[in-house]
């Protein structure tokens, strides 16, 4: 039986090494091997978006990527957003607009929103709602999230 695989990658701008079994998802690697629990597990089958991270510039569900697939690539997680100077504008906008309740979906929504706003700060409401269709929230009813993302877009200009 093959043993664990050695993987070298870049996570939040830092070079990271880890050992994982090929069957382990990027989500499991982040949470269980690297102790980065900001990324959440919801459905674990690509429906809810709670585990959204940015992988080589594109948002993906980390439950649907294998840990071994990030060899030599670049991953950004929720832990990579805030800096020593403070929160990322999207994080601030989520707080100011009360865009979270229980918070489990929030890291996924923020990462998905970053994936949109990094290229389109002027995305309109329809675009935001369509872009976030792969993220589920059972608390807020989505309106406050959408308002927060539109607000963040203005802040990021």
């Amino acid at each position: 039986m093959p043993g664990p695989t050695h993987v070298q990658t870049t996570i939040n701008g830092e070079e990271v090494d880890f050992l994982c079994e090929p069957r382990q998802s990027l989500l499991e690697v982040l949470r269980d091997i690297l102790g980065m629990t900001g990324t959440k597990e919801g459905c674990n089958d690509g429906n809810c978006g709670a585990c959204t991270v940015i992988f080589d510039g594109r948002i993906i569900n980390s439950c649907l990527v294998l840990g071994v697939e990030v060899q030599g690539r670049e991953v950004t997680t929720i832990e990579g957003l805030a800096t020593a100077d403070g929160l990322h504008p999207i994080q601030t906008a989520f707080l100011e607009n009360a865009a979270l309740q229980c918070g489990i979906c929030t890291p996924g929504f923020i990462m998905a929103s970053k994936g949109l706003l990094d290229g389109e700060v002027d995305a309109d409401e329809g675009r935001v709602r369509h872009w976030l269709a792969g993220n589920l929230c059972r608390c807020t009813g989505y309106d406050k999230i959408v308002r927060a993302v539109l607000d963040a877009g203005q802040k990021m200009k």
């Binding site: 039986m1 093959p2 695989t5 079994e21 090929p22 069957r23 998802s25 674990n44 089958d45 690509g46 429906n47 978006g49 959204t52 992988f55 594109r58 948002i59 993906i60 569900n61 439950c63 649907l64 990527v65 294998l66 071994v68 697939e69 998905a112 994936g115 949109l116 369509h130 872009w131 269709a133 792969g134 993220n135």
Partner: protein
């Protein structure tokens, strides 16, 4: 998840060799959005997953107005719709590429993977069938080509033999005065599996008033994606009219053999095939006229 090994071949022959040596205990993976879920859910058990994403031919996406589109089996949906030239040439294919899953899924999922997964509901399959897409396959005995409408053989089953992989789908260049469209019905706006889906393509004459030929394909209304040839052929040579489109939609409904399940009933699905056939034909006509 039970499976335990992962390989990243750099060439087709290396991938074919690996797959052939493991038989049905190995499978090739493109975006993984179906395969990983199947493995985790225990619906599939493997010893080896072979990543196709490091093989150049599977990553090819090239288009020319003479030769059409070569779409490698590992090219994710977003790369298709991010390409302005290809988007403009194949709006019917973009209808599918932009509605499979959400943005996260489109960052990984591929048209080739959708075809190989052979789900009756695969949204990309009817779009490729109506565009005349041809599946280019490589295997231990060389290469072969299969028309996309002949590729799926049952739910989750396809024509690939042990050791064979889908390398790419070749879609002919769009003819003059042609257009295509894909629509599906789902209860939500996004992120759902088709209750029914229909793809249509048409070629009109230079006046834009008469059908030269057409193709229609149906999703989620049979064990495999349906190529409704008789329905589409009924349009050939006829003036573009509500009556002709109505007749084709009735023939398309006759080609559907849906079941009732949690997503919809036989009656609803048959009704939807009629509605969606008419709408996609009208969209395709409009696009063929340059609208």
């Amino acid at each position: 998840m039970e499976w335990i090994d992962f390989a990243t071949p750099k060439t087709i022959s290396e991938a074919v060799e690996l797959l052939a040596s493991k038989g049905d205990r190995a499978k090739i993976m493109a975006g993984g959005t179906d395969l990983i879920v199947q493995l985790r859910g225990g619906r599939r058990s493997l010893d080896l997953v072979v990543d196709g994403k490091q093989i150049p031919e599977l990553n090819e996406m090239s288009y020319s107005a003479q030769n059409g589109l070569v779409l490698g089996a590992a090219v994710p949906c977003y790369r298709l719709y991010a390409d302005a030239t290809i988007s403009a040439a194949y709006p019917g294919l973009m209808d599918s590429a932009t509605l499979i899953g959400g943005i996260q899924i489109q960052g990984r999922a591929t048209v080739g993977g959708n075809i190989c997964n052979a789900a009756p509901s695969g949204d990309a399959i009817p779009a490729v069938i109506v565009l005349g897409g041809v599946c280019h396959i490589a295997g231990p005995n060389g290469t072969r080509e299969v028309a996309t409408e002949d590729f799926c053989t049952g739910p989750g089953r396809n024509v690939l033999e042990t050791g064979e992989i889908l390398v790419s789908v070749h879609i002919p260049a769009p003819q003059a005065h042609s257009g295509a469209s894909y629509l599906r019905f789902i209860p939500r706006n996004e992120m759902d599996i088709a209750v029914a889906g229909v793809g249509s393509s048409v070629v009109l004459d230079a006046s834009g008033q008469n059908f030269v030929s057409a193709r229609i394909s149906l999703a989620s209304v049979a064990p495999i994606p349906v190529f409704a040839k008789e329905a589409a052929d009924s349009l050939a040579g006829k003036p573009v009219s509500e009556a002709a489109i109505q007749e084709a939609s009735e023939k398309a409904t006759a080609a559907a053999t849906p079941i009732s399940d949690m997503r919809g009933t036989i009656k609803q699905r048959n009704h939807l095939v009629g509605v969606l056939t008419r709408r996609t034909l009208n969209n395709a006509v409009q696009r063929a006229r340059g609208g």
